[in-house]
Assembly symmetry: D3
Homo-oligomer: 249 residues x 6
């Protein structure tokens, strides 16, 4: 069930059978010469919506702008500061918890979001459990590439040149979902350099075309489809397990 295409009454009914919701979350940022700017929010959206076709899960609208300050040296990147990002995740959570959801899984598509999302969870818990109250809900961060089996499949598909930004696996997923938006370029070098991440201008100097350690030329729509199907199945299981996790009384 896609929340944005449902009515409030349908969500009320859903809440009578489940209190778990998945929020696709990502970033809108450069992904090298051929990667779509939306890659990091499109991937979790694609996977969650694929999972929704086969399972009774509720998918929230996509949180599409994340923490991408180090990519701001490339046109088209849009970033929240960590402080804004944390406040916004808090408002989403408070809204959903207010309706009765008590298991919120953020399916994330951007590694650069991890620190701010974890910090947001702590900020929310600190507020909700102030004065020794029990918060009454659980938040979970899950990167799509950490879903069961997905990392293994990606390593099989791309034994070299997977890298960590503008990876062939994420490019492949968007190719599968948006075949009309496949871009081509000559990559030089074929496998991009690796190194540390600092601020935006430093990033652009180290990684002139935006990639880190990757060769996205290996991506194909077919490989993307394999990844999406496996990730969708694993997500459904992950949500099931999260829903059942015992909460100490």
């Amino acid at each position: 069930m896609l929340l944005h295409l449902s009515t409030w009454a349908e969500v009320e009914q859903f809440l009578s059978r489940s209190r778990t919701i998945v929020v696709p979350i990502g970033s809108n940022e450069q992904h090298g010469p051929t990667g779509l700017l939306g890659t990091d929010w499109l991937c979790p959206e694609i996977i969650a919506r694929e999972a929704e076709k086969a399972a009774d899960i509720l998918v929230a609208p996509t949180f599409n702008i994340g923490m991408a300050q180090h990519h701001l040296g490339f046109p088209g990147t849009i970033s929240l500061r960590p402080s804004t990002f944390i406040a916004a995740i808090g408002d989403w959570t408070r809204s959903l918890v207010g309706h009765g959801f008590d298991r919120i899984l953020f399916l994330n598509g951007h590694g650069g979001n991890d620190a701010s999302i974890e910090a947001a969870f702590s900020e929310i818990y600190a507020e909700a459990s102030f004065g020794r109250r029990r918060a009454g809900f659980a938040l979970k961060l899950c990167n799509w590439w950490d879903l069961e089996g997905v990392g293994e499949l990606a390593r099989e598909q791309f034994p070299t040149g997977h890298g960590s930004h503008a990876t062939p696996s994420e490019i492949a997923i968007t190719q599968w979902a948006f075949p009309d938006a496949i871009k081509r370029a000559d990559y030089a070098p074929r496998i991009a350099p690796s190194g540390p991440i600092r601020e935006a201008l430093d990033f652009r100097a180290r990684y002139p075309d935006g990639r880190i350690g990757s060769d996205p030329g290996q991506a194909t729509p077919a490989k993307g489809g394999e990844l999406v199907r496996l990730a969708a199945q694993s997500l459904a299981r992950e949500l099931e397990a999260f829903s059942c996790e015992p909460v100490p009384a």
Copy 2:
């Protein structure tokens, strides 16, 4: 051109011919017994993407969660506090201005956003023009129903029972775009009551099924299509005029 389906290099090229961008912005909130929770962000997204098919404009990802605290009494509504909303609009703006965009038009689908968006503009201008500097960019808020001719067409289509929330015009637009997600209900009363807007529980008590002054039963996909086509044409002209607006030196 859809920013999220473009590469950074394509955005760089776009900037060489235009420095104007449109950001669809709305809210995810209850829209009565039959309206989609996504209505207010889907409408500007639908209109902007329709306009993009016929004109060389750049459409940003959709800012899909807005200021909807008064709708939080209905499941599925997700709201930012005004302070968070203002901070986030600031971060979007700073990101885009950093790339060279100097005309940002927010195409809005939720009247309840207006105050916070205008406040955000003032906050951003206050920061950017601190110390008597010229900000160097212009921000504009445009509700889709205020686009040239659109209000007139809606009044013609729905001479009574248009109302102000869960209106037949916005419902019609989402019916046209998502024919598989059309919902049915008996409306009682046919035209919902009107009145002031206060906090969330007061809202639900005054407007038990979520509508204000509207009879969404009049909506049809065909009427929605008429609205979208007209709005898309007006948006293209609005962007053209905004781009050409003289800035005093």
Copy 3:
């Protein structure tokens, strides 16, 4: 009853017969070549205090600095950023609600405040109704020129050249209240230009003497007196109606 000239015991007594209070709120900003910098906070203060002479109402101290960032290009303007303004309105409200006031009407004298005041209301409601509590109080924004009959009288008095900033009606009100502070100037052009409002330097370039669309030369103390008397009567009725407004249980 003027709160600042009362004791806490007198306010305690007032609360036993009414839980409504009016807060004059405005801005300290340039008002063209002849308008007083205090115009926008003086007008609601003058009207509220006139109303207080004939009715048992409680008038709070005047909130005299508002959101005027676009006027900062002219000496003497003092502005709060929207974020500060919102925080301060919240603190005033929390203080008054803590004493038992449950109807707070902000009588506003500056259109540029509207967005931030409405945003502040939503921020306060969001906090007060968090966790599905009923807030228990109502906030209302009323611009003095929207009081019943006032707009009509102003249009009668000034059929042309009323404009939207440094209007003859607001100048007339301050002339009536402060006859020793009436200023003269040659207006060129007689009726100032109109246009959009952006940031401070853009504003000064578009509107070199500070006026927008107005000919304040038409103001007279007598016309100001007429406006004040009518507005004061309408304000008393407005407060009465607000006090009696049914709150859904």
Copy 4:
């Protein structure tokens, strides 16, 4: 010169002969059984406006709501949280410094404001001198009872029972300025108790009628007039000295 009764052009002219401004600042809070709620902002306003009659000084609008959280147990008190207060003082300062004022003297009427005002100064300096820039302006806090000679006069007038809140000297000043608003009460005990200040309910328990250590029954309008005249003269000298203070290059 009173800023709020001046035009922007008059302020521009003033700036050509002086870059110093005085801001009356206080609090709206209970002042015992007979003291006006406005006492703490009225006193500096009265003194500054008296000084303005005899000297070419510029008096800003009064900053009338301060830090009075410990008085919130008494109806009519309105308080900013320190964080809001600090933000607002920052915005006033940035506005005035933007116009070219480089000496801002806050004439304060509420001891409870001192900490927040000093903290605000440090916050503003921290921002303005970030990156080893010279701030280029000086801020000064002056409590009216610390103006030269004023404390001595008050001790002479009220050798016993002056106390620290709802003092006979501040009551006398408002009696002189607002003879129609003089209130009477039996004080029991005649001299109120003294002790520490903690939070609001603790305060009301310790000081049931709101006074601390004072016997305001000794106040007379005549004594108030003496205090105002002396304070006004001292203020003029204080502003002169502040204007001339050498700034190390």
Copy 5:
């Protein structure tokens, strides 16, 4: 008992016999040509730990970075902005109050902290007593030089040239505690100048070697030892009195 060298179970036991805790708080900032950068947090730490040897008191970890923006012109100074400082004191307090401590004494070593600490207390009380609740805890600020008898001893030891920054008394205390870190310099002039405190560059221009009004050349480890022993005894009595202070019901 030193909290950081205890286990949580030992703290739980302490809470069964006392609900009072002392937090050494200071600043890390320049202290003239011979003073240690840590002087202002070392002094209260030294005194509190000396007191702990003889009395059953609980000493928290030292809050070592305070409000020192005016010292940032000298290398090695580290400062929090007042807003950060206030937030952090709030978090410490909320943590400790959550465990059951209801008397928190901040033993301070930096006069420049006073305003921000007092503002923090008001901010915390405002939050804790919101909605007319009783906060249930008391906060106290005590500068070590204001402990009973300590000021007298310092004036006896250093009748001239004590000054207000990089004083011989604070230097002496660190000499006693860190004899291996005693530094020597020629002071020119012997007694440093005095004057007002503004922002950082102004400070360095007025006080080129960092001292204000002091001659630290008079400091000796022996004098420091005398000060520490007296201060430690007074602190123990101060904590005892604070613990016993009656709280109005």
Copy 6:
């Protein structure tokens, strides 16, 4: 060189030969039945000060309170909210960068700090590089157990029951440094359970004595000494490498 035992002039001299500084950072939180509350800030402090004995490095005061909200269910824990923590790290960084340090290594002792510290770095970079400026400094987070060789040694010393909180390696380090503060307890079970980390009460229910997955009974002062010596050597090399890291122009 220990910054807090140095003068500003000595730091100025250090800056002429190096622009790198190490900041020990940790948390004050429960560490099971025998672990010291200060464990997480003591460990990096101990290691950094050991390294300082043999190398020309500069050690800042210890940032001793971190993000420990999930440990607040145990007495003695003191935690900053992530938002406060981020603000404070920003202020430390701005102070140090203002003096000319351009390589700041945070040697961390608490895994729960990682997310907030990384978020803080992004917040600082976002501010410093706003408007496409180069920030001009680099920040690095290094957990002491990730220093070269340290993890391997710990795994050798404690092949089973190392766990992730109140680990034998961190306990051993504090035993070596504070032999008088070694505590004993019967651990039941010997190896504590493992699982996810949520909010404070959930944590205490899952991990009743505070340990996660660890058997701290294996700790000895001797093993702690081995870890400290190795970590100190690795830290010196890490700082050297960080200082030499090429910065793209």
